[in-house]
Amino acid sequence: MNTEKNHHLSEDQIIRAVVDESELSVSDRQHLGHCNLCRAQKTHLEQNLARLGQAASQFVPLPRKRLNLKASETSHSIQWSWNWKTALGTALAAAVLFIFMWWASQGEEMFENSGRENLIANDDMASESLMTEVDILSENALPQEYMDIAAETESEFNEEFINFIAPLIEDDSLTFISGKKGVQLC
């Protein structure tokens, strides 16, 4: 009797037995098999847990509406169609917005392009007139009034007169000979 008392299962072992009896050692299982006290403790705990399960099951309120798979499928298809419609609407709105933005950006680009072309043409014209002016100035740096006074445009010097003023070296024999090596003048 005393030996049996010493071998009674502890509270932890009883709980382990409730979880899974195979978790106990062989000797503990054998003890549980023939000890009424330990078996009663285990049964008591198991009964409380079973009662909890039963009570919970009883105290669950019944569904207000009758659950029906067909109803669920219908509600699901409604939900899907709503989602589908929403998605389609969103896609259309996005497409319209995209087209509008694309159109706006294209218009802006075209405006910018034509403006840039005009600007380039204006620049070309301005630079052309500037270059003409520069060419004129490089040819005749003096203004037209000075040119009129100098009458350069009308001067017609003949070759003979020029030669008289500034004779050619070949024609000036004295100067020509003195320029040659080894020639000594008296």
């Binding site: 709980i15 979880v19 705990l45 847990l49 909890l52 399960g53 009570a55 009883q58 309120p61 509600s75």
Partner: protein, 212 residues
């Protein structure tokens, strides 16, 4: 005398399992009637499972329908037809978890609390129900259950609910929660230690509930 009864019961269980597996195979082949039969067989169990976790009739109804829609869509992916119940419970478990995630986000932004919602649900349910004494017992029971469950960790709570309220076996729980059996047993052991210490719920179970 006892032995033949056990054998008879085992035979009945085996026959039920075979029928269930056949229904699942038919449903996988696109047989709508077979899936409806599965729905009829399991919808109450799933509804109760969801109610234990949400404590709201409305949410339990909506979630149960969503769970079966998901099951209907995904049934072809179920490899072992005889594990339909476990598979259904894993869908339910995940759906309830998603539901609470969304709820937490909503509550975060609306600055309300889950417990306040639960209390509101209790009181609204009481107002609608015309029998006050039964209501009080139910209300007291769920309060005690909630009080006890609050002492458990998330995993202890889930394992406890699946084992003793949803009546799943250890192996089934391990598949639903994707945990090893030894981990499930450890959590269950810890939960039971706390259950033994929760004198209020034990007393309630021994007195009031028995009378009810």
């Amino acid at each position: 005398m006892l032995q033949p009864d056990i054998e008879k019961s085992q035979e009945q269980d085996a026959s039920r399992d075979t029928q269930l597996a056949l229904l699942v195979v038919k449903a996988q082949q696109g047989n709508g009637t077979a899936f409806e039969q599965l729905f009829d067989r399991f919808h109450k169990e799933v509804y109760r499972m969801v109610f234990y976790r949400t404590r709201s009739q409305q949410d339990a109804e909506d979630l149960t329908q969503e769970i079966f829609i998901r099951a209907y869509k995904k049934i072809s992916s179920l490899k072992e037809a005889d594990r339909f119940r476990t598979w259904l419970f894993s869908i339910a478990y995940n759906r309830v978890r998603d539901f609470y995630r969304k709820k937490r986000i909503q509550n975060f932004f609306s600055l309300s609390d889950l417990d306040e919602d639960a209390l509101e649900r209790y009181s609204s349910h009481d107002r609608e129900n015309p029998v006050p004494i039964q209501n009080l017992i139910k209300q007291d029971f769920w309060k005690q259950v909630e009080k006890f469950l609050e002492r458990l960790s998330k995993m202890e709570k889930e394992v406890f609910l699946l084992r003793f309220l949803d009546q799943l076996m250890i192996a089934e729980i391990s598949r639903v929660l994707k945990q090893s059996e030894s981990s499930v047993k450890t959590h269950l052991y810890r939960a039971l230690v706390k259950f033994k210490k929760a004198s209020s719920i034990v007393e309630l179970l021994q007195e009031e509930i028995r009378e009810y």
